[in-house]
């Protein structure tokens, strides 16, 4: 029980104090897990991280479930899950409950008039950062994907096509070389 609480608390702390989304949380987790708690080495942590990254869902939550499970089986996985999601849930619920009342307030609206263009800038900037990691011939591919979504095609189909293409290509390559 103490061990489960420890798993829960380790991820809860990180969730409570880490601003800026998944990637920042991962850096905090690395320190907490490999240095402070000494649960595993860097190498093993990176293995868990790459599996969490290749899977759907919030990366930080995936990592917490995997590592919780490694420490204490199913109960540990659930402790990791709760620890990594509860802080966000509690904070955002409080904001949602109170924000409904003051979102009509003209002063608050001014702040959000300034915030919205900057949100768009941030998302667009992420495209530039990510695009650095792909090859030039893949550029038309992602632009086509964006175009299709704007035309009303569900992103879910495009993700399925991406997965099927990747699996088919790998299958073809591994079997050709034999």
């Amino acid at each position: 029980m103490i061990q489960l609480l420890h798993i829960f608390w380790s991820f809860f702390k990180i969730g409570l104090f880490t601003f800026g989304g998944g990637y920042t949380m991962i850096m905090m987790m690395q320190r907490e897990i490999t240095q402070k708690n000494n649960w595993m080495g860097e190498k093993e942590f990176m293995d868990y991280l790459s599996l969490a990254q290749a899977s759907p869902g919030p990366m930080a939550v995936n990592t917490a479930i995997l590592i919780g499970y490694r420490q204490h089986k199913l109960a540990g996985g659930i402790a990791g899950f709760l620890g990594s999601t509860l802080p966000s849930f509690i904070i955002l619920l409080l904001i949602a409950v109170f924000f409904q009342d003051f979102s009509e307030n003209p002063e608050v609206m001014k702040v959000f008039n300034g915030l919205r263009p900057s949100v768009v800038a941030l998302i667009l900037y992420t495209v530039f950062v990510f695009a650095r990691n792909i090859r030039k011939w893949e550029y038309p591919l992602f632009i086509a994907v964006a175009g299709l979504i704007l035309l009303g095609i569900s992103p879910l189909y495009l993700i399925c096509i991406g997965i099927i293409a990747g699996v088919a290509y790998t299958y073809y390559k591994t079997h050709k070389s034999k």
Partner: protein, 173 residues
């Protein structure tokens, strides 16, 4: 009825949410704004701003917030948050079991690699869909947009950029 729809919508978002928070925003946008029209583009942009400035993963932050906004009930939040996380929980528990065999699997890395251009496309579409008249109300909006891009390019912390643009908005509008 809306509770069940919310749960299913967020379950789908969690199940197909490859590639991190911003890619998931595009899925959320498609489900919540385009398909079910529970909230408007402007509200959605506000929610992203709030999620960005609060701790935790953006997908969970926006799920919790949207759940409450749509239903005006705590149970709405519980369902959306649980819905978006349930696929993670199931997939990761199964993956833990097969972990040793999965971690160097060629197909796992192939999925990650081939999904990457799709993920960037998702993020681009999210940005383009938010370029509306409601988000860019006048020329000052474009100045904030350009300024934010420049600061991000200069490696300023995104949360600081947000805080700064909110501050600027308060004084110029």
């Amino acid at each position: 009825m809306v509770y069940w729809q919310l749960f299913i919508a967020f379950f789908k978002i969690g199940l197909f949410g490859f590639g991190g928070g911003y890619a998931m925003l595009s899925l959320i946008q498609h489900q919540v704004v385009t398909e079910h029209q529970w909230i408007s583009d402007t509200e959605f942009t506000n929610i992203i701003a709030i999620s960005q400035m609060t701790p935790g993963p953006i997908s969970i932050n926006s799920a919790t917030y949207i759940g409450y906004t749509v239903t005006h009930s705590v149970w709405g939040s519980v369902l959306t948050t649980f819905g978006v996380c349930l696929p993670s929980l199931l997939i990761m528990l199964i993956a833990s079991y097969f972990f040793v065999r999965l971690r160097n699997n060629v197909y796992v890395s192939a999925i990650m690699r081939s999904i990457y251009p799709v993920v960037i496309g998702l993020i681009l579409s999210a940005a383009l869909q938010l370029m509306t008249r409601e988000n860019f109300i006048d020329f000052k909006s474009y100045l904030i947009f350009a300024g934010a891009l420049l600061l991000l390019y200069k490696n300023m912390n995104p949360i600081l950029v947000m805080a700064l643009s909110g501050f600027v908005g308060f004084f110029i509008y």
